[in-house]
Subunit: 420 residues, 2 copies
């Protein structure tokens, strides 16, 4: 067909080498074929050039033509704000989640907090109990980290017996990525003076659920921060305004929002939120407690469930990968239901505990295909198949679903969720 070496197939069913798009041109004789050849006349001068445009604003809005890009959300029956909203991953690109589209998981709604009245108490097994308000906390040294947060219940829709035919965001949208800026918790604890028997902390939010989790002191002193900024501006109300705990790479609910209290304790407090919830029921009836890190994971967002292909030809497969253990090491793509795999290109920057964007060229021949991505992190941990994951954990295991996502492409170009 074409002897351009860049068109070398690197895995079955049309996957091409990742360098194809990196060299800044396509390939001799191979175009995307989606542009139209222009005729002699340029396009008509658009109406927008004939009248002055709108003026400026202090805080901008997106285009009304983008109103269809929304988080999906639902609350438990009989409640106002107990539930979750999900990032529409299939509509986003890159690795930054805009604040307005960041996922939210609330246990009793979003509290309305005036920062002037908000206080954070650090107490318990400390030499000097301390109280901070937003102004005093902002005086402390800040650090900024571009990192993901993922609800441990993310992707649980794929625990259903039949694969739900919904979008990538509806299944996997309880993960988002922001630049979080805050004060290292280690500095605050150092100032309070942790007593030698203080091995855990309890973090409590000021929402109506009194959301509270126990965190080992090792994590509190390692990379935990009290975050006050999200993507440059102060936290969004649904993400803990005016301050939240942020525990990089650990299950999202532990990054307690609307943080009001950190109590240094000798052991875990065994709160309702870590015993009745966020524990993992095993096949033998026992539960795993304190399964903190989020495991290595990836999902193809383009094309993805409910998308329609535009006909046979060249495509770019694109998606996100992440790991609570550090950097993404590599991402592999299959177009033939896992028979063969090709390594994807990773966009810079590849940061620890951050979403990483991967891309690979694919020449779809119009036949049936099953697209999968498989992430391996820098520790060597690899994303399992759904079959392998469920075999190890049993069907009652509710959290930490991180198996390979399979998207089937039909000859008519419909893309849908399948189990493989």
């Amino acid at each position: 067909m074409n002897d351009d070496p860049a068109l070398e197939a690197v895995a079955g069913n049309g996957l091409l080498h990742r360098r194809l798009f990196l060299r800044g041109s396509v390939a001799a004789g191979l175009t995307f074929m989606t542009a139209k050849t222009a005729t002699a006349a340029p396009p008509d001068v658009p109406a927008s050039m004939l009248v002055p445009g709108a003026g400026m604003s202090g805080y901008g809005l997106r285009s009304p033509h983008e109103d269809h890009v929304q988080r999906g959300f639902g609350s438990l029956p009989g409640t106002v704000g107990t539930g979750a909203s999900r990032t529409p991953l299939e509509h986003l690109e890159g690795i930054i989640t805009p604040g307005a589209l960041h996922f939210e998981r609330h246990h009793n709604g979003i509290p309305d907090i005036d920062p002037a009245g908000h206080r954070l108490l650090i107490h318990g097994l400390v030499e000097r109990p301390l109280i901070f308000d937003l102004d005093s906390l902002s005086r402390y040294p800040l650090v900024s980290k571009l990192q993901f947060i993922e609800c441990s219940g993310n992707s649980g829709a794929n625990n259903a017996a039949e694969p739900p035919n919904v979008s990538a965001g509806t299944i996997h949208g309880l993960v988002s990525n922001s630049q979080w800026t805050g004060v290292p918790l280690s500095i605050l604890l150092d100032e309070a003076g942790v007593q030698s028997e203080g091995r855990w902390i309890l973090a409590e939010g000021s929402d109506a659920a009194g959301m509270s989790r126990s965190v080992p002191m090792t994590k509190a002193l390692d990379d935990a921060i009290v975050a006050i900024y999200q993507n440059g501006e102060h936290l969004r109300p649904g993400n803990g305004y005016p301050m939240r705990l942020f525990l990089p790479g650990w299950e999202g609910n532990m990054s307690v929002k609307w943080l009001r209290r950190i109590e240094v304790t000798a052991g875990p407090t065994m709160t309702k939120d870590e015993t009745s919830k966020y524990s993992d029921l095993m096949p033998d009836g026992r539960s795993l407690l304190f399964t903190f890190p989020m495991e290595v994971k990836s999902v193809i967002t383009s094309p993805s469930g409910t998308n329609a292909m535009q006909g046979p030809g060249l495509y770019q497969i694109s998606g996100i990968a992440w790991s609570g253990a550090g950097r993404v090491g590599r991402v592999e793509i299959s177009a033939d239901d896992g028979e063969s795999w090709a390594e994807a290109a990773l966009d810079d920057p590849v940061l620890p505990m951050s979403l990483t964007r991967f891309r690979l060229p694919w020449r779809w021949d119009g036949g049936p295909a099953v697209l999968q991505s498989r992430a391996v992190d820098e520790t060597g941990a690899a994303q399992p198949t759904r079959t392998a994951m469920l075999a190890g954990r049993g069907s009652a295991y509710r959290y930490h679903y991180h198996a390979i996502q399979s998207w089937a492409v039909t000859e008519s170009g419909e893309v849908s969720n399948v189990y493989s």
Copy 2:
């Protein structure tokens, strides 16, 4: 006072080594002294814990308590949208500018564009003129880059004879940083087939100003993209929705917004926007044309103009640095009006042509101080003093102001803009 080696003064007037905050604790006997010691009782249970919170939303808003964080803006007399709005740098942290607070510079307002009707024509000295709409363009391979854009007129307020006593954003807020995702222009030009005599392009926007600039083909084929996403979501209307040219590191107006036409030409077109404007008048009456790259620059944002200090003690100096030539190499801070300098810590990631956040501990003794930052990029280019820059360019030179910013701190803790 204190023999902790981390408190070693590394430059005059209280600058401390950057490692002080990196080790995760402060220093024996030295606290920030802004937290209050708690008394026996914990804070009262806040009202927010006594009632269910608010429910979720599809597209979220920031807290109403943040309404004071706004872009300042102004339009030329008699016009609706000819002017600029500025990012409030002093209110932001990290390196990402939220879309709602990204600076805007418009030459005749913000056009209202329905992407369904928008077209991009690539024509001129090409083999195959092509027309793209947003759907067909989105089919092409995308790349994502976290990069700044800066108006070449940024910081021009400091050309005034007397230093304006305004905020960091009011002076320097015509710079913002986003993750831009788009199609490499090289791939589109490759598909159109550039003829051998095609050495420049003309880029034209579909605003009422018909904003248009000439770009050398070398840049077009190097790292230019046609951007369609900004921080994960589609471009904001004020930043070119649905598509803009993006030229990393080059003066902002060349990254033509609302892009409708790229014409491949043999030479520069000499549009009104590159002759009557965005050319640099020299002391001898001649003008420099095509001064494309933005030079190495930095500004301290905390503390900064119009801030008030909270009394003597330990502070973190924080600011942003950037260069159109690549990565920031290092940033140095002075607290004694340039007599002595200390190297700041740089937050990861340090990316080419991206804002970079720098930080340094400072123990303010309550006396007068002049704070300055000086960036050096990876090519070795260093930010000049204001005196040196003006001496070289003359007073009529309007663009590319990138001199060292000086903030005076008085004994009463007022921070204001000064020339030094």
